[in-house]
């Protein structure tokens, strides 16, 4: 079970969180024309990297905030967590 550092609540067990997928995916802006390809990329296409991955987690049994986690998909090592307003570089 992972140990995740919620930027709002601190270190908590994985049980309290829900996984939310790739955090680098950006939704096309609302009310703007979007090409079919761009839209399909947004909806369906995800990278599945082995190694560092910036992803979303939702503290559903806690503060209910979505935030970013940089995790190694092979080793589960977590390098950093950050609020949505912060960047992970």
């Amino acid at each position: 079970m992972l140990h995740i550092n919620c930027p709002f609540c601190g270190l908590r067990a994985q049980k309290e969180f829900a996984y939310g997928g790739d955090a680098t995916v950006k939704r096309p802006e609302i009310n703007k024309e979007v090409s079919k390809e761009e839209w399909d990329n947004f909806v369906y296409m995800r990278k599945s990297p082995r190694g560092k991955h910036i992803e979303l987690w939702h503290h559903i049994s806690g503060c209910r905030q979505w935030f970013k986690v940089q995790r190694d998909t092979a080793t589960h090592e977590i390098f950093k967590t950050a609020k949505m307003s912060e960047e992970i570089v």
Partner: protein
Amino acid sequence: MRQSHRLNNIGLINRDKVITFNFNGKSYQGYEGDTLASALLANGVHLVGRSFKYHRPRGFIGAGVDEPNAKLQVTINGHSEPNINATEIELVEGLSATSQNCWPSVEFDIGAINNFLKRFFPAGFYYKTFMWPKSFWYKVYEPFIRKAAGLGVASLEKDKERYEHKFEYCDLLVTGSGPSGLASAYAAAKNGAKVILAEDKPRYGGTLLTDDVSIDNMSGKDWSEKIISELKKMPNVTLKNRSQVFGYYDHNMMVMFERVGDHLSNKSKYTPRQRLWYIRAKETILSTGSIERPIVFGNNDTPGVVLSSAAKEYMKVYGVLVGRKPIIFTNNDSAYETAFEFKKNNVEPIILDTREEHDSEVVQEAKNKGIQIKFSYGVIVANGYKKVKSAKIGKLTKDKKSFESTETIKCDCICVSGFWTPTVHLASQSGNKLKFDEKIDAFIPDKSKQKEKTIGAANGSFTLQETIESGFKTGSELSSKITDKNNENKIPTVTETKYSVHDKFWCMPLPKNENPKRFVDFQNDVAVSDIEIALREGYRSIEHVKRYTTLGMATDQGRTSNLNGLQMVSNIENKIVPEVGHTTFRPPFTPITIGTIVGREVGMEFMPTRKTPMHEWHEKNNAVFVDAGAWKRPRYYKKGNETLLEASKREAKNVRENVGICDVTTLGKIDIKGPDAAEFLNRVYTNAWLKLPVGKARYGVMLREDGMIMDDGTTTRISENHYHMTTTTAQAANVLSHLEYYLQIVWPELNVNVVSTTEQWAGAAIAGPKSRDMLSKLFPDLDVSNEALPFMGYIESNLFGVPARIFRISFSGELAYEVNVESNYGLFMWEKMMEIGREFNNQPYGTEALSTLRIEMGHVAGPELDGRTIPQDVSLDGLVSKKKDFIGKNSLGKDAFVLENRQKIVGLVPTDRKSSIPEGSHLVENEKAKLPNPKLGHVSSSCWSVENNNPFSLAIVNDGKNMIGKKLFAVSPLKNTSIEVEIISSHYVDPEGKRVRS
């Protein structure tokens, strides 16, 4: 009864407490502090089971977790459990055990015929034999294999025992209380660290209990007792015996299995049998020690062949002799200690040492004691079927590939030692890549991957001096990183025998013209010849050899067999062991019970139960409940001998004719506030929301980004910037997460807050032609006319002094309202409604009637909104705005979504107007067509239409409404039915929606 092999004046058992137990129908006695194994051995019983494949007689090999053979069916307190390790289970009064995998008895086992047919059962036998003919698989082969597979029999009765889970955090977890574990736990505790020390056995001390050493002029046992008593006094230390850390997971999470009540004969009602600990440790010390491995020789599985360390443990801990005429067969010094122990107890051992004429401290001591030693000697074959009677021994040639001479000597046990294998399972599970240590011919942990450090014998240090030193040092270092304290430790002085180098010898050659089985893996019956076959047939990777031969795949995880197997492969392949590599160690290290994994989450505690405030009333009024997620909802209110169908028909009919009330508290409710709330809803829902006036509700559908419907419900504008959203019961949590996702991630610029208020409001629907009359009596001061409170209107009022929200919304398709009050007043509201409704023939209705009402109206719900439908599929085209953007809109233009003949919603009636159509039935054109019969759609929801008094279903079918008028067959292979159906509109009742507006 006499315990024939019990020694006097030695052992840590309690001779004052005699325990009577039963084995294979015979009564025996042992003492408190015995394991089942030591008690049986005390009675001279070696034969305890039959082997897995060949049904060969088997006895004890080890004295702890290493035991591969003695897996018994054990019954305590009427609860029977298979595959219990006799060397681990403690003796309790009334314990009863039987041998497994034998019939009719362990003494005479029919299956042993396999032993004589063994040349027909080589490695891969099953893969090769059960291939053809194909038709034999289900009826002949599979049942046969099933019967042959497995060992004991799982109880079919409910497990009445109590199991618990516990979550714990600590600075340092120490796994194993041998010398290194004790030293490190002590040093860390002195530094003020929060320490958990876990010991698998009932007694702390590990090898200190059996090794002849002295620490600070104390015996190993006394020193360990002193340390333990000091640790017990420290509030920052948790000591846990009978506790096996069996899994090392991510982020330094360890899982531990504690046997809390198994050894207690009268435990209190609330004492759990076993407890599972989830321990998150900042640092972990793996002081798991090592396990002796056997030397492989002919018929080395004969009962009476034991590990030399086990023989010593049986003597020193349990006061039990495994035999009176022992052969000590060794390639190293450590087994000499077993010989000394025998000698001390007036038993004359003979030592066969595979090393050439050898000198060391222990050899000298043995000579001084007058113990006979034969160098360059080894056991070739153990003779005896159910018990060792003699051994054919041989003098090895210089190259150790054949014999100079052989002879047969009498013996009743063979204590074998092929040197020591560090227990690296936990280290490997942590992600540590192991490395091969040539000095000890075994794998030890390499660089730490997580916060783990392996010390002592587990790390390949086999001297006490080194072990104690590294224990103190590591415990101190790791803890001072956490506590910032650095207590000076006085490292105790250690006296121990210095061992000389061992012989890298692991398998006896076969004598000429003899071919006895030489077992590598006892539990899975894998012999040297099986590994040879696997290699001959081309298997090279150790992982493949393992799977083909099943080497190391039994529940003992190859603790005694892994390295010998690897040596075998490397010898045949002419590779060094590290090149062959090792197989993967996976949790659990030892088998654990399903009960412990499940813990308290059984029956009612399987998941939380959510009850509405009106639950008690429903119970009192014969409600039959149905699970809706965690909620309990009344399915119907049973009157007399009514069936479900009869009751739901009565309840639904009463709604259509009079009025009914339904507990709708379980619907998800989300409070939405903020200046941008309207804009937000406009993006979330497919229809337009900007112009919804205050005091009005609107039905909305929300999509996922892929265009599929996520949920539907009504949202009401309570005030300018305040909305009340309802969701389906099932999707409430998902919808909230969905809204939070968009507000926090996608559009953080929107000033909106959302919060769940599901638990805060109790809700009741009042539905039926008489609902307005009833409402006016509930709210006598309120104008509830069609003009004042029109369809989709909203008013706040009070129900006999209780603030209430009134929504004119309808799921049943009738004139209907939903009233919400604060949860605490839910029951009050409900009882008032029942009281006031009496004059209108009001009846409560459950979810079954609710479904009936919505289905015949053609209202969609979960079965239609199954994640595969877009609004156009379920006749909700009108709700999809063409003018504005919303979540998922861009997906609706996808080619597949605009196909003319796409599957869409329709209604179905059976042509005989009688046969109920099972939900999930497939729609086909020709019921008799050859398979695969093209499927044109499926039945999503079925009911008995109370309006038309015949069955009616909703279905999703190719070409949707264009199919109206056609006849198809609804085929259900599950229910074995085929019903001719006619396709009609999905709106079976009041298609114009007049009633809701009346």
